[in-house]
Symmetry: none
Subunit: 208 residues, 4 copies
């Protein structure tokens, strides 16, 4: 790395750090107030910038919001990919997926609330793809793992993605409800919960 590049890199790094400050502030505010009631004033105050400064980093409130949601969806897709790619039985892989997804929600309770609140805006294109389609992408990842078992006739003959959506829904519901019940997720035990859901789901799917 040349010395001449260093200052540029530092500047670049600083810029990115500031950008991230804004994103973090926005996440909190969006999670707490929802998209519509979140104000740039509040986000700017929390990020300790002037309101106008936000526009040096983001084109609009919408852009800022999409970036946050998009990053979350990327994370969730990655979790699914990694869990499915790893070794082990199908149950083990789904257990990993469920555990890690719920851990992610526990660690990022605000993000989870954003997604829930903005089912609201589900038609909204995030990046270029509608949120729902992004979720379908995740379901597909789980689905293609299921497909092999379906073909082996060990689990019910259902369209794999549909089946995956059932599981995905169970996982998300589980944390979501806790969050909305107002108690927070501090005592939520992802691993225990994951076991329960995996057991129920796979026993339920077994061919009788």
């Amino acid at each position: 790395m040349s010395l001449a590049q260093q200052p540029l890199l530092r500047k670049e790094r600083e810029r990115l750090a500031k950008r991230q400050e804004i994103v973090n502030a926005a996440r909190q505010v969006f999670a707490q107030k929802g998209y519509d009631h979140a104000t740039l004033d509040e986000i700017a105050a929390k990020a300790e910038f002037a309101k106008g400064t936000l526009y040096n980093y983001f084109d609009s409130k919408e852009t800022l919001f999409r970036e946050i949601v998009s990053a979350m969806l990327d994370d969730l897709a990655r979790i699914a990919e990694v869990a499915m790619e790893g070794g082990g039985s199908l149950r083990e892989r789904f257990l990993r997926y469920a555990t890690q997804t719920m851990e992610y929600h526990k660690k990022n309770e605000d993000l989870q609330r954003i997604l829930a609140r903005e089912l609201n805006r589900m038609q909204l294109e995030v990046g270029l793809v509608p949120i729902m389609q992004r979720l379908r992408g995740i379901a597909d990842i789980l689905g293609s793992a299921l497909k092999k078992e379906i073909n082996k006739r060990t689990i019910v003959r259902e369209e794999p993605t549909e089946l995956a959506f059932v599981f995905l829904g169970m996982v998300h519901n589980r944390t979501l409800r806790r969050s909305f019940e107002g108690k927070g997720l501090s005592e939520f035990e992802p691993e225990r919960e994951a076991h329960f859901l995996v057991q129920l789901f796979f026993q339920g799917c077994e061919v009788a």
Copy 2:
């Protein structure tokens, strides 16, 4: 019924009919735009009344919204009660519940979208009770039916309401996703879907 009463009754009926016009218009707009982006202008236009007229029937946008959500929650609770009270095996009763709930969502696609969108406003008190608590009430109805089986050790020992929430979530997710995928529910087959979910859920819950 005396002749003298007739006009009063007619007036009363007409008033209620108009009120319902407004509610119907509002349901559509709330479902399409969400609470915050729904404007009274649009609701009034759709109901074919002047904006001010809405205020002869409802105190505020909030009131109108709450009435809609509250009525839906009443309906959903009623469906659960009736399904559980009727005779038949536990599976049969859950089948009825699932079928009828999904039929309700199919018939009232807009209402379902409102509930989903306004998980957003879940903390909001509707009537006097937070939405989440109303949902818990429904889960309790299903839960107390499950309790007996749990006691008989034929299904897994889990807290009954928690278990019921799993089922409730499966049912709602099922229609919700279809609705958000944009294809509409016209080809959705509640009975078939209900069978699938009941089978999966109960087989999943069986004590191994």
Copy 3:
């Protein structure tokens, strides 16, 4: 009086009685809320008529208000006239005027507040004459009584109406302040107060 006229007269009397009901209700509401915040809804409710019915008796809110203010100004002018026309010394006549004016305010505390509140609308023409000019008419009545004494050089050479306005102002201020201090006028003693003001005014006006 012919028999044929009787029913008409009864109808007429009933109509006037209803009209008066409205006026009375309006007085209370205007006094309590002020012109702008008084609503026809509230007036109608207090008068136990439907809102639309008010328009069978008055052309507009404004008309109704003017009638009330105008009647009050008529009363106040009458009090001044009668007090000045009666016999006795100038002091005695002014004492009567002050006593009766303050008694009127005590009896009609709401009216007094209306006048005070709607100094606000003083430019407003009531009937055809601006309120301020009506008050000047009252001052003139007092003034022409003062004029004779001024000519006799027993009291200061000032323009009589101006001098009268000083007294008129003293009298109105006296009750007005009590009313706005929120204690009500129930313990207000017009006669005692009148003596005090008359003494101060006339001693103050004496030629040194």
Copy 4:
């Protein structure tokens, strides 16, 4: 003063100047139309700002109004204090008070009209204290000066604040009426008027 501070001070000064522009515009509009009929549209237009800009300086119409009334009451109280604190006989001090108060009203004709119009809103708390109580504060200042003379038995034994209110009322009435008669105060002569009122009041109060 450091050079670095200069820009800050200039900004600050400009901000205050703009704020004052708004206050001045509001004073005129409130005086002309009264609180309720004054619109922010009109105030903004007169101040040559957009409507929204007002909200960068004031929280609400109410706040703006209160600031104006409160400042006026501060001024009036200050005038009373200064007049009473200065040397000279009691008459001389009251002469100063009356002259300066009437000069203030002459210079700020709009303010005086606001106070009069909004006797209307007298119950309203301005700052933290009801208007009426603020006026009583002024009367108290005059009253404590009167108290000494009352104790010396040179003027009538009346409660000093009550007596002061009589004088205060005479002074305000004097300018107020002129203003409402529509001729304006351009030819009003505070000093001459003050002499007249002081002479009348003190001669009237002398112990016979």
